[in-house]
């Protein structure tokens, strides 16, 4: 099974640090452990999501600015 980075929290997933900023990561980017891949907004508090695995991003199963559950895959790594 492909490696995945899961959402640690329920909330809203953001792929960019601010609406006018580029995304943290794109498909094809290399991710090292500890790299920030996005934000989860929980009750108006923003939490950075750090990669707990390394690899090359093949997909973002969760869309930008969409609700996610805790444990839901955010990133797939090849």
């Amino acid at each position: 099974m492909a490696k995945q980075i899961l959402s640690p929290l329920p909330g809203t997933f953001y792929r960019r640090p601010a609406p006018d900023k580029p995304a943290y990561k794109e498909v094809g980017d290399t991710v090292a452990v500890g790299d920030v891949i996005g934000l989860i907004e929980v009750m108006k508090s923003f939490n950075e999501v750090a990669a707990d695995q390394a690899g090359v991003i093949t997909a973002f199963p969760a869309d930008d600015e969409e609700p996610v559950m805790a444990g839901q895959p955010l990133v797939e790594l090849g």
């Binding site: 329920p10 809203t12 907004e41 929980v42 009750m43 609700p67």
Partner: protein, 458 residues
Amino acid sequence: MAIRKLLVANRGEIAVRIIRAAKELGLATVQVHSLADADSLAVKLADEAVPIGPPAASKSYLKIDAILEAARQTGADAVHPGYGFLAENADFADAVEAAGMVWVGPKGDSIRVMGDKVAARIAAKAAGVPVVPGSDGRIDDPDQARALALSIGFPVMIKAAAGGGGRGIRIAHDLEEFERLMPQASAEAKAAFGDGGLYMEKVIERARHIEVQVLGDGSRAVHCFERECSLQRRRQKVWEEAPSASLPQAMRERLCASAVALAEAVGYRGAGTLEYLYDDASGQFYFIEMNTRIQVEHPVTEMVTGLDLVREMIRIAGGEPLRYRQEDIRLKGHAIEVRICAEDPSKGFQPAPGTVAALRVPGGAGVRFDTMLYQGYTVPPFYDSLLGKLIVWDEDRPAALARMARALDELAVEGLPTTRPLHMALARDADVARADFHTRWLEPWLERNAHRLEETPK
């Protein structure tokens, strides 16, 4: 226009509060909700519920068109905005009225005037209400800025006239520091906002936050005494009381009279709150802003006056004149409210949504719990963390503090962390017992008392 069916354009505990008031007035109720709130208590209690969009507030509770469409579909003839979301959006107020419905709040133009810091300050000064000494608007000329700083006295806050968010704010403690900081502040404002214009204000270093509740019908206004909300974390109120324990009676009368004067001067309609800073060392109070809506902490005022503020604002919106003369409104006893939030005070107040596994609600004389919770309810992560407000009343402040400590002991919310441990520690704190606090008291207290903020399992 008599109201028959009220649409609640909000969520959480305030939506429940509004539905209760509407039902007591014999009105039908419509609750709009996001997809994340389909099983909320407000949806269960309202006569009708209409989904208006996905979880994100920007796609549901802030969607004016969707809310007006829900009103049209259900035949609602009035809209109550609660607090937050669209409550102080003048365009929404105007749109509700343009659609032929009653807006439960002040006229859009009152929201515009009081929502603009400079315009509100000018209105306050014109009504004879003291404001924080400072520039009445932007100031561009350095000589003029220096003269003003000397006349209002140090420390002085210098901030960007454009923008906000804390950027461009400097505090100068003396003239030398002022001369150094002013060009920096101007340059930073110019870089951040493309406008180097500054605004200056005297810094009130040890102030209490005191606010006056008013009710107006567009021509006449009354006050319902004051609340003190000095216990704040990151500028968010966490504990509120009525009346203020620090205000001498003569000062209370002056403060409340000033609020009525300002409300009447702007022809205020509905429930509103005028916020002040009070410096108990000098006995000075300064108007800071007006909130043109019902506030989170309104229940403490209800407990000490016996009024139902939400019901009164609906009656006024329906066209009834104010039902009270000032002398009808009496202050009795002391009330305290604490905000129970889904945050873990032992982990830096990290918000944590979850499912309420078990709930034990405190009761007994003088205890009120305004909440959106029920057993089995899953608190969604998309909105603010307020779960409910525990409010107590008693004959005097020491008795109210003891009652609050007792009620907090009874309260149990299992399945998610709450701010209950914070309030249990505050209710037994010696400084709190003496009301010896100010708006910057709580944050250092939290650092010293971190070990007391963990929920203890029974």
